[in-house]
């Protein structure tokens, strides 16, 4: 199953479970969304539960906040993560702080925001951004990013049933290309828990979403060419993130590389590095290194050069080992 189908299947299962659950967003209705994630769901669940909204992201999230406050599960789709920013106030000042500021009288835990993110589709500045770090500074939000169809389905179902608002970023370049065996039935994967996808002893590499296959490729090169044994961690949840799994690994390997697509400065890699150097200070054999996007807007014609690909990661592995 590819990621599109896995996500569609997860939504279908959730919709059939919750009698009033709604899906809303630009073009998600009859058409099924520009990436077709909500395909056929309007037909199956009706126009009152799966519907196109007017073209206003601040309205979508504002409306979804209110709807979620009634307790009805809501999926709000933002067509591209680049277009979530008009809703930044609703997300950061409202969604994230709802339960806290009301003293628990109200909450919008029933809300899940889905959005395709990341590069790899020749999208240029505004169809390529990886904005997770913008939200990671916001207590009250959960942030989840799946790496493949199996993860996508299990994590999305968890996000929907989690009693907190969740931002669910989908690596759009994997929508069709990433395939895995996916159960047809309902299953869920834990939020806030990283996934060790390969154990190793020399160095730890952390990534999430579409970058997981990048670090896998780099690890393979390093193993084959240099016999370096790498522990690979898919963080899966950016907020809250699984400090324990990462620090346990680094205490063992003594080395850490973080890979993310977003620009390096104040990306989420900075938080990981800051925390790990504190927790693992005496175990570190080399400084923590980051392989990330450059500090520039995402450039259309230099996408390949911009991206933190497997070669850059491989070179960084060698640099870390040499340190």
């Amino acid at each position: 199953m590819n990621m599109l189908n896995a996500l569609n299947n997860a939504l279908d299962l959730a919709m059939s479970k919750h009698p009033h659950m709604c899906i809303l967003g630009e073009d998600v209705g009859f058409f099924g969304g520009v990436f077709r994630i909500t395909k056929d769901l309007q037909k199956k669940y009706g126009e009152d539960r799966v519907f196109n909204t007017p073209l206003t992201e601040q309205g979508i999230i504002g409306f979804a906040n209110g709807l979620a406050a009634t307790g009805i599960p809501v999926i709000a789709e933002i067509q591209f993560a680049d277009y979530m920013f008009p809703a930044f106030d609703q997300l950061v000042n409202e969604t994230a702080k709802y339960r806290y500021r009301t003293g628990g009288e109200f909450n919008v835990g029933a809300l899940t925001v889905r959005s395709p993110y990341g590069g790899g589709i020749a999208g240029g500045l505004y169809h390529s951004q990886s904005p997770e770090a913008y939200y990671a500074h916001t207590p009250g939000l959960k942030i989840v990013i799946p790496r493949d169809p199996y993860q996508a389905k299990g994590l999305l179902l968890s996000a929907i049933s989690d009693p907190n608002p969740v931002l669910f970023f989908e690596p759009k370049k994997l929508y069709r290309t990433s395939k895995s065996d996916v159960l047809d039935t309902y299953y869920s994967l834990p939020l806030g828990v990283a996934d060790i996808i390969q154990t190793g002893t020399d160095i730890t590499i952390v990534a999430w979403g579409a970058q997981v296959e990048v670090i896998q490729k780099a690890a393979k090169m390093a193993l084959e060419q240099d016999n370096i044994s790498i522990e690979l961690i898919d963080l899966r949840s950016i907020l809250p993130w699984d400090i324990q799994t990462v620090t346990d690994s680094v205490k063992k390997t003594g080395r850490l590389i973080i890979n993310h697509e977003a620009p390096i400065t104040n990306g989420f890699g900075s938080e990981i590095a800051a925390t790990v150097q504190l927790e693992c200070f005496l175990s570190l054999e080399a400084p923590i290194m980051r392989v990330c996007g450059l500090d520039i807007p995402f450039p259309f014609c230099h996408e390949k050069e911009y991206l933190p690909d497997h070669l850059k990661t491989y070179e960084m592995i060698k640099r870390s080992m040499r340190y």
Binding site: I61, F63, R99, G104, G140, P163
Partner: protein, 391 residues
């Protein structure tokens, strides 16, 4: 593909003539004369004595509460306050036009609606003094009330964010076939925010049973309406969203009551939003942090504040023989007394325990939050006198 677009329904003209502001004439509904009697053509909304007096008592209470708490702020006992003065009638009249189970999303100056619903003096005080009994756990500035029991969404400072939320909430009510609707208050200033546009348009398109209630009180802090918009008030925007709209004299509690009942009926039977613009004047300062002397004249304040909604309505009730002024004077004294007593009660109650700092960020605190709280508590133990007590 249920439909095709309706591009061909427009009427064609061959003469260039723009639509200008005078194409729409929006009148202001008023039923009660300033002398407390009804205009001859006015139809009095059906209202029983109990409701009528409850409205009156709500306005009475809020005027006293505002006056006392303003003073308390001046004495440094609370840090902040906002008065409703000049808008008691609009807020109380609209709250009375609703069902108790209808949801209210307010901006911040609508304490009268909350009191009408049953928020007690003690509850107001607990919030204002941010004590342990505050439903909001002391986390927000004074006047940020809210109550799930009373279907009154907790106030949020960022303006206009409640507008699309109210649309979404009302949509949920319709979806669940609840026999209730939502009313959303906001100022004419907040109506400039993008969230206003999104909220009204989405409610119209998605047929959410929500009443948008704009308190046009002439000012957004120091900014007068003529620097806020140049159209004909907020009412003139309704038509652009396909939302039926009424403008009312916000100092006429009966007109507001009638308009809200009408709007509620419209929302519930037609599954459509409705827009009400109440014309008022913010007689007091914006808040205790503000001093209007810096931006408006005493003459203007006098001109607009004389048209006093409370006494207009009081005269109406006296003429109906529904209240006895002597009793009301005693009642007023009693309320003043109660407020003073309750200030003393509320300010003695301790503030929320420190463990609550990390509650409600999520449904359960994360490991990291527990660690942060532990560190904080250990730190405070080194300097116990310098922070609030750790329980």
């Amino acid at each position: 593909m249920k439909n095709t677009i309706n591009h061909t329904t427009h009427i064609i003209t061959h003469t260039l003539k723009p639509i200008t502001t005078d194409a729409l004439s929006i009148e202001t509904l008023s039923l009660l004369k300033t002398n407390g009697s009804l205009y001859p053509e006015a139809v009095c909304p059906t209202i029983d004595q109990k409701t009528a007096v409850k409205i009156y008592h709500t306005m009475q209470f809020i005027r006293l509460l505002d006056d006392r708490m303003q003073a308390c702020q001046r004495q440094g006992r609370i840090s902040f306050y906002m008065q409703c003065l000049g808008e008691e009638a609009a807020v109380t009249g609209s709250a009375a036009g609703l069902h108790q189970q209808d949801m209210i999303f307010a901006q911040y100056r609508e304490q009268a609606a909350l009191h009408y619903r049953g928020f007690t003096l003690q509850q107001f005080m607990n919030q204002l003094f941010s004590n342990q009994l505050d439903l909001g756990k002391g986390r927000q500035m004074p006047v940020h009330y809210g109550s799930a029991d009373l279907n009154y969404m907790t106030i949020s400072s960022p303006l206009a964010t409640q507008i699309p939320q109210a649309s979404g909430y009302a949509y949920g009510q319709r979806l669940r076939k609840d026999p209730y609707c939502t009313l959303c208050y906001f100022g004419e200033g907040a109506a400039s925010e993008g969230d206003f546009h999104a909220g009204l348009n989405m409610a119209a398109v998605h047929q959410a049973p929500v009443i948008f209630f704009c308190r046009n009180n002439g000012y957004a802090i120091s900014t007068p309406t003529y620097e806020q918009f140049i159209g004909d008030g907020i009412a003139s925007r309704g038509i652009g969203y396909g939302i039926d709209t009424l403008r009312v004299d916000g100092n006429d509690v009966l007109a507001v009551y009638a308009a809200t009942q009408y709007a509620r009926n419209h929302a519930m039977t037609q599954h459509k939003p409705f827009l009400i613009e109440a014309i008022n004047y913010r007689s007091a300062a914006h808040s205790t942090s503000d001093d209007p002397i810096g931006y408006r004249t005493k003459e203007e304040e006098k001109k607009f504040s004389t048209n006093n909604a409370f006494y207009r309505y009081e005269t109406f009730l006296i003429q109906k023989n529904w209240i006895d002024l002597k009793e009301e004077i005693e009642r007023t004294e009693q309320i003043k007394q109660d407020i003073l007593t309750d200030v003393k009660r509320a300010e003695k109650i301790e503030k929320p325990i420190i463990d609550q700092m990390i509650e409600d960020v999520y449904d359960k605190p994360t490991t990291q939050l527990f660690n942060q709280l532990d560190d904080l508590k250990k730190h405070i133990q080194h300097y116990p006198e310098l922070y609030s007590h750790v329980h």
